[in-house]
């Protein structure tokens, strides 16, 4: 692993215990491999897109990269960087005020309380919640909650930022604003992994891409190459599905 490689996966598999109803009251226990054979490298400073259909294992892969899960087989090497998932509304409590939830959620995401208080005003302004910030979050509309969640989560700045489909949230105006700052962050940030089933989005934002299908990496390389293969595959499978 050379110095520019931050994370490296070789034949990685992740399994989940699975219990299924069997005959009568009996239950069958086995393992479900959400990731079967995943290999790729993440280089410093790049924006890597991970593309794949539903059930490809994208979310499991993100949890692995975030350090929430560890591989059950294969090797996952990290150069010691901190990577975090951009998740909205982590651990928010409905009966607490917006302000208290910013602190709580920010601390759960790994920020120090001091850091959060320092940029509290900026978070509130970005979320456009000045009037309501001391009201309980249980009184917020879903759009207000989304704005609060995005403005808080956006504060994290790990070495590797992991983004799982959340680009624009809230109403149309806020969706544009949030996806705008996020695009900017992706373009300027050191290292980003962006997961999507939307090929166009990956093409616009990423330097390289990985195609994941049923827990297996089918391709890794330049965005155009990988997306062409992925699109061909989609066309092929929809054609054979129609037949």
């Amino acid at each position: 692993m050379d110095s520019a490689t931050l994370l490296s996966l070789r034949n990685v598999g992740v399994s989940f215990p699975r219990v299924r109803p069997g005959r009568g009251f009996r239950r069958q226990r086995d393992a479900f491999w959400a990731l079967k054979d995943v290999s790729f490298d993440l280089y410093e400073g790049e924006a890597l897109g991970v593309i794949g259909r539903n059930g490809a294992g994208k979310t499991t892969l993100m949890r692995l990269l975030a350090g929430i899960l560890v591989p059950d087989r294969g090797t996952f090497t990290s150069s010691g960087v901190r990577s975090s998932l951009l998740s909205l509304n982590v651990g928010m409590v409905p009966h607490l005020s917006g302000r208290e939830n910013i602190v709580l959620s920010g601390m759960l995401l790994g920020l120090e309380r001091r850091q959060i208080l320092d940029c509290m005003d900026a978070i509130i302004a970005f979320a456009e919640l000045e009037e309501f910030i001391d009201d309980p979050v249980s009184t917020y509309s879903s759009g207000m909650k989304a704005r609060l969640g995005f403005a808080t989560a956006f504060q994290i700045d790990p070495d590797v930022l992991l983004i799982d489909e959340v680009l624009g949230v809230g109403d149309a105006a806020f969706a544009e604003k949030s996806s705008g700052v996020l695009r900017e962050k992706i373009r300027s940030h050191k290292t980003v992994v962006l997961v999507s089933h939307n090929a166009q989005r990956i093409r616009n934002l990423c330097d390289r891409a990985v195609w994941l299908d049923k827990g297996v990496t089918r391709a890794e390389g330049s965005t155009d190459e990988v997306i062409t293969q992925y699109s061909d595959f989609l066309e092929e499978s929809s054609r054979s599905g129609r037949r």
Binding site: L104, G110, E112
Partner: protein, 262 residues
Amino acid sequence: MAAIPDRAQNRRSHYVNLVLYKVYAELRAESARTYVGFLWWIVDPVLSMAVYYGVFALLLDRGGAGFVPFLFVGLVTFRWLNMAIAHGATAIRENGNLMRQVYLPGIVFPAVAVLTDTVKFAVVFGLLLGFLWISGYPVAIPYLALPVLLGVELLLIAAVASMLASVMPFVPDLEIILSNSFRILFFVSGIFFSISSVPERYQLYLRLNPIASLIEAFRAVLLENQWPAWTPVLWIAALSVAGIALGVRQIARYDRVYPKLT
């Protein structure tokens, strides 16, 4: 909006701060949820004490003059153990969603649950002390043992809660076993009778139950102006420290397995 650099280098102190803030948040949220808020921390235990007082002192006419303080010391100390262990033991299982969003050491959750119940206990224990002083049980030198007894009970709670919390996500059935165990424990811990009053051949077995020994120790200090029997207290402390070490180690070992369990 400028993003700020992630300077949370010292993870351990960060997690301690996180636990403390989460305890504050839990208490705040709980009191915000109801109309009279945190008054419930007082009203709830007082109501349950009133029920037992009604049944034992009035209906069954047990115990005589000193019975009410005797009962209340047992109830208050037992309730702390019961609540904190019940909440601590299920804490990891109940926070599965959070553990799937962001990496957090599993021990954070039982720690928050135990400390939250400890704060609520502190309020009720303060009231109990006030009640005892008014009822004519003076503060005396053996009160110096009180912090030790409280500390040992907290160790016992932490040990049982962390060990149970580490296995609860794998075996959810334990929750049912646990609530039944507490029901039995309630009747054999000497809350409304003195262990010295049961036939001698059973006393040893009843005293193997650590909370029974602790309740006796609290009563010695609060009601009889005597030093507690130190031998059982020290045994409980030593075994609890070993239990905490085991529980914490097991939780750390399965930190990244818990998010896989639903």
